[in-house]
Amino acid sequence: MTVTADVTQAAVPGPLPVPDPDVAAFLYYEARLADEARYSEWEQLWDDDALYWVPMHPEDDPRTRLSYIYDNRNRIKSRVAQLNTGNRHAQTPPSVMRRVLGNMEVLAADEETVTVASNFVLVEYRHEQRTWAGRVVHTVRRTPAGLRLAGKTVHLVSAGGPVNTLAFLI
């Protein structure tokens, strides 16, 4: 991942291109699967070298700093398997959620991958309504089998904490 600290700061110069429609559609689909707790379908979006990361600070180096979530492909599989048991108490029943993904900007692109930064607002209802928001950076890969998710980094506005339980797919 070359894009880390820059995404939440002003280091990216000027206006940036919007993603191609198929990439945007893929990201909306990812958001919808997460919102609707369609865990296994969501898991299928991920490529083998996946990284699903929710850092505590945008500039953190995960080699030396703890993150809220730092899932490789195996850990994503475990996370989904746990949710699928129906006994993941913190998501039983699952949160009712809707998120809005906007301000999409392409940070980097080559023939194979495109890195898109977006803002998001997520409304979660479970016992009470909560709002989550932040900057999300997706790395999407074009493969013969279609678009695949290689990376998703979520910089929460509230990352400084304290944060509520985050057992759903953010």
């Binding site: 505590m56 080699r63 030396t64 703890l66 730092y70 048991t85 108490h89 339980t165």
Partner: protein, 437 residues
């Protein structure tokens, strides 16, 4: 007055401190109000957090001169600072002038703290060094000025790098307070080739919608895992050892003074297998670490340290040594607690540390496979307490099989509520004390 003194019943005049702790904590049960009552919550702040030792920080977080952290002791905001004279101080985070909170960052490095309100400036040893436009004060002020430093926790001490403070000028020493629980810290340090650990990976701050005691007493509850955490064992991996008490030599222990633990060491020694507590990885995966540990301890003791692993111990009132994680809690309100969690890092062992970080994220914090569910169960516990019948919570499991030995009160059934009984015995003795006005 027509009656004499002796005719009257011998009743003490009611005092503002008529709290009867026996009305809420009895031998094997606690009253629901200990988790819900605002008065009892305030009383905990005034007793547990104002008279006793409370964990505040780890030395590795403030290793350099000028390093500081902002923390809380109960409800009191404090600055834990490595002062320029080398001493670690715990200063109350308040300007002595008009009470502005002086330090507003989580952490930083500064020689002095300057109040942004009127510019009063304090050295990082707490002394007042500058009062702008001082001529505006009269001679009476100049007489007391030297007393206007930042207030300081009168007692600060550390053990194995863990820094504790007490807001009371007098009381038992930290060593007396820790007692047998010091061994739990030693057990973690035994896993480091340098004999030291570092808590420098950052703290996850997780909001729990439960009373702080729900959060901490759950940490040494050996009964819940099979139910609360069934989804982990079903979906991901079996528990490290069986949950069936008869099959394992896992004990729970009330160490005394409110400290307690789940101790796997006998079971691990019986298995005589290294790293059972660490995903059962073979030592060949961490050759540099194992070699360094053998350099420190010799092969035999290094093997034993790697077999028994780190402790799973609650240090009264707010510190939990969670194997290769450390958690401490801050009570916010009767039904709200912040749990802070970080990973135990071993100096110079980057490969081990990266593995530990990933394990910590997997288990702990708001998205952790374990703690997210503990948080949910704690919230539901708090919700259940709104029902007032039955009034009491039962903590009697294993009371007839508790055994007293030189390490404390031990029960060879890890699902026994021995740790919780020890916790509430301490709670009753501390919260039940007379509060001085």
């Amino acid at each position: 007055m027509t009656t004499t003194e002796t005719d009257r019943p011998a009743v003490e005049p009611p005092t503002p401190d008529a709290f009867d702790v026996a009305s809420v904590v009895q031998d094997h049960r606690v009253h629901g109000s200990v988790y819900t009552s605002p008065e009892i919550f305030q009383r905990e702040l005034d007793t547990i957090f104002r008279t006793g030792w409370v964990y505040v920080a780890h030395e590795s977080e403030i290793a350099e001169s000028g390093d500081y952290l902002t923390r809380r002791i109960g409800s009191e905001p404090v600055v834990v600072v490595h002062s320029k004279d080398g001493q670690i101080r715990v200063l109350l985070n308040r300007c002595s002038h008009r009470a502005n909170r002086l330090c507003n960052a989580d952490a930083g490095n500064a020689n002095s703290f300057r109040c942004p309100y009127h510019g009063w400036t304090f050295s990082n040893d707490g002394s007042l060094t500058a009062v702008p436009m001082r001529d505006g004060y009269g001679t009476e002020f100049q007489k007391v000025r030297s007393q206007l430093g930042m207030a300081e926790a009168p007692r600060v001490d550390s053990y194995g790098g863990f820094v504790f403070a007490s807001l009371a000028p007098e009381g038992i020493s930290l060593a007396e307070h820790l007692g047998g629980a010091a061994k739990a810290i030693d057990r973690v340090l035994d896993l480091s080739p340098t004999g030291k650990i570092e808590l420098r990976a950052g703290w996850m701050k997780h909001l729990h919608h439960a009373n702080w005691k729900m959060v901490v007493e759950n940490n040494v509850d050996g009964y819940h895992a099979l139910f609360t955490h069934a989804s982990v064992y079903d979906a991901i991996r079996p528990a490290k050892v069986s949950h069936i008490p008869a099959k394992v030599d896992v004990v729970v222990r009330d160490i005394g003074s409110g400290h307690s633990e789940i101790d796997y060491s006998a079971e691990y020694r019986k298995l005589d297998e290294e790293f059972v507590w660490y995903g059962r990885i073979p030592r060949a995966k961490l050759p540099d670490y194992v070699a360094a540990l053998e350099d420190r301890h010799g092969p035999e003791k290094a093997h034993d340290a790697l077999v028994v692993g780190p402790s799973h111990t609650l240090i009264w009132p707010n510190l939990f040594l969670a194997e290769m994680n450390v958690m401490y809690v801050e009570p916010i309100a009767p039904d709200e607690t912040v749990a802070y969690t970080t990973a135990v890092l071993v100096p110079g062992q980057d490969k081990l540390n990266q593995r530990t970080l990933r394990r910590s994220e997997g288990a702990m914090g708001p998205a952790g496979f374990l703690i997210a569910d503990d948080g949910e169960i704690g919230m539901r516990n708090q919700a259940g307490l709104a029902a007032h019948d039955p009034e009491w919570l039962e903590l009697s499991r294993g009371v007839e099989t508790d055994v007293i030995d030189e390490t404390g009160v031990v029960n060879s059934d890890k699902s026994a509520e021995t740790p919780q009984r020890g916790f509430y015995r301490q709670w009753a003795s501390v919260v039940g004390q007379e509060i001085r006005a």
